[in-house]
């Protein structure tokens, strides 16, 4: 079964083409690493795949559903980690997760499980503002997986993570389909079965049939 199918998916910022039309297929359970320098279009591609941004052109299907017209159904099945942590500084780590659990139609149990899954049980009662950068990243990861999504779209999830934190990435991914942007090739090799290298705005390697222009 195909989890991600992009056909001619492209993006423009004003008159500037940020992502040339992309064709991409990812089977259920596959993990794709997106590698490349800054400004290669990795984040743009991930934001389109996560339905955070609307594409300028093309179609995107996630689990056979049109991602543009059936956003709510699609979003219930994906977890996204962007560049910003997106926490509420005045709320505790647990309160942050409980809030998002409510929005996901989940309960406190799932929030506590997600917190435990990233090793932050001891910090449950600490305000997000008081957490270290690495702990905030763990909390963001917990938010991305708390509704048990089938697809994870993670933009540089290893940012600020220590050794144990990076090790938990593999556990969180489990059997899920994932698209992961990272600068760490060793991490990509460890986590992903396929890789896409973007260099100077162009994809290297035919198997991915991906063309990206420099943002």
């Amino acid at each position: 079964m195909i989890a991600v199918r992009a056909a001619g998916l492209g993006q423009r910022f004003g008159s500037h083409p940020a992502l040339a039309p992309v064709d991409l297929e990812l089977a259920v359970g596959e993990r794709l690493a997106v590698l490349g320098d800054n400004g290669a279009g990795k984040t743009t591609l991930l934001r389109l795949l996560a339905t955070v941004a609307r594409p300028a052109s093309g179609r995107l299907e996630l689990f056979g559903l049109d991602a543009l017209t059936r956003r709510a159904q699609v979003r219930a099945r994906l977890g996204y980690l962007g560049h910003q942590a997106g926490h509420y500084a005045q709320l505790t780590a647990l309160e942050n997760l409980e809030f998002f659990a409510t929005l996901q139609g989940r309960g406190r149990v799932e929030a506590r499980e997600a917190l435990a899954g990233v090793g932050l049980e001891a910090a449950a009662g600490r305000r997000a503002a008081e957490l270290s950068r690495g702990m905030q990243q763990r909390l963001a990861l917990a938010r991305a997986v708390l509704h048990r999504p089938e697809l994870l779209v993670l933009d540089e999830p290893d940012t600020s993570l220590d050794g144990p934190g990076r090790a938990l990435l593999g556990r969180l991914l489990g059997e899920r389909t994932a698209v992961i942007a990272t600068h760490d090739r060793a991490l990509a090799r460890g986590l992903c079965s396929r890789a896409l290298l973007l260099r100077a705005g162009r994809a290297e390697g035919d198997p991915w049939q991906l063309r990206v222009v420099e943002a």
């Binding site: 709510a72 996204y80 500084a89 709320l91 309160e95 998002f100 929005l103 305000r127 938010r143």
Partner: protein, 217 residues
């Protein structure tokens, strides 16, 4: 409904712990009343006549500050994006933000109305309180809608007043007349409050519908 309450509770809890807005707005209200007192040389005779105008001016500016902060921090810290990526509807999220902003402004009004009596000698009766509270609901709906729109731009602080003030005029006109009549001791029939409530319903529905588009783009 659970989403709306969760969003509102989250905003109010964050404000209670951070105390970023309420103390500043309360201070603004008191200072504005003190300045108005000296600027208009208010006495017991002129207080009830000048009071309604001062009340609505202070309320409008306090509202611009309160609603202006409703969406900008969410966008800056990426939490709005995280909320919109959940299956929760944009309208429910918007309603929660508007509810919290409205309650915050009502807390400010709890300072403003007694302050009117103390500094301006304006009689604050039930009609005045009701007019202000009912108008706050509609103003919050529109204010939060334009706050969400303005938060997407760099000139958000300038854009919000330009967008919100023209559409708040009906609330100021109807609410102002109601308060003026009440402070003047005139009997105010129930109709102005009904008009304010009708404006509330109209603008809250329009804002909730428009919020789907504004938030999800």
């Amino acid at each position: 409904m659970a989403v709306t309450w969760a969003v509102a509770r989250k905003d109010l809890r964050a404000e209670w712990r951070g105390r970023e807005m309420l103390p500043a707005l309360a201070q603004f209200v008191v200072l504005a009343l003190v300045i108005a007192n000296f600027a208009f040389d208010v006495d017991l005779t002129s207080g009830p006549r000048l009071g309604p105008g001062i009340l609505w001016l202070v309320l409008v500016f306090a509202g611009l500050v309160a609603f202006g902060r409703a969406f900008a921090p969410e966008r800056e810290q990426g939490s709005l994006e995280a909320m919109l990526l959940t299956p929760a509807g944009p309208a429910a999220i918007f309603a929660g933000k508007a509810l919290a902003a409205a309650l915050l402004l009502m807390a400010v009004e709890a300072v403003l109305l007694p302050g009117m009596a103390v500094f301006l000698g304006a009689p604050i009766g039930l009609q005045v309180v009701l007019a202000v509270l009912v108008a706050t609901v509609g103003m919050a709906g529109l204010g939060c809608l334009f706050s969400a729109l303005a938060a997407q731009t760099r000139a958000r602080d300038l854009l919000l007043p330009v967008l919100a003030l023209p559409l708040w005029i009906p609330f100021v006109v109807v609410g102002g007349r109601t308060v003026q009549a009440a402070m003047g001791g005139a009997l105010v029939p129930g109709q102005p409050l009904v008009v304010l409530a009708a404006l509330d319903i109209l603008f809250v529905i329009v804002a909730a519908l428009a919020a789907r588009v504004v938030l999800d783009e």
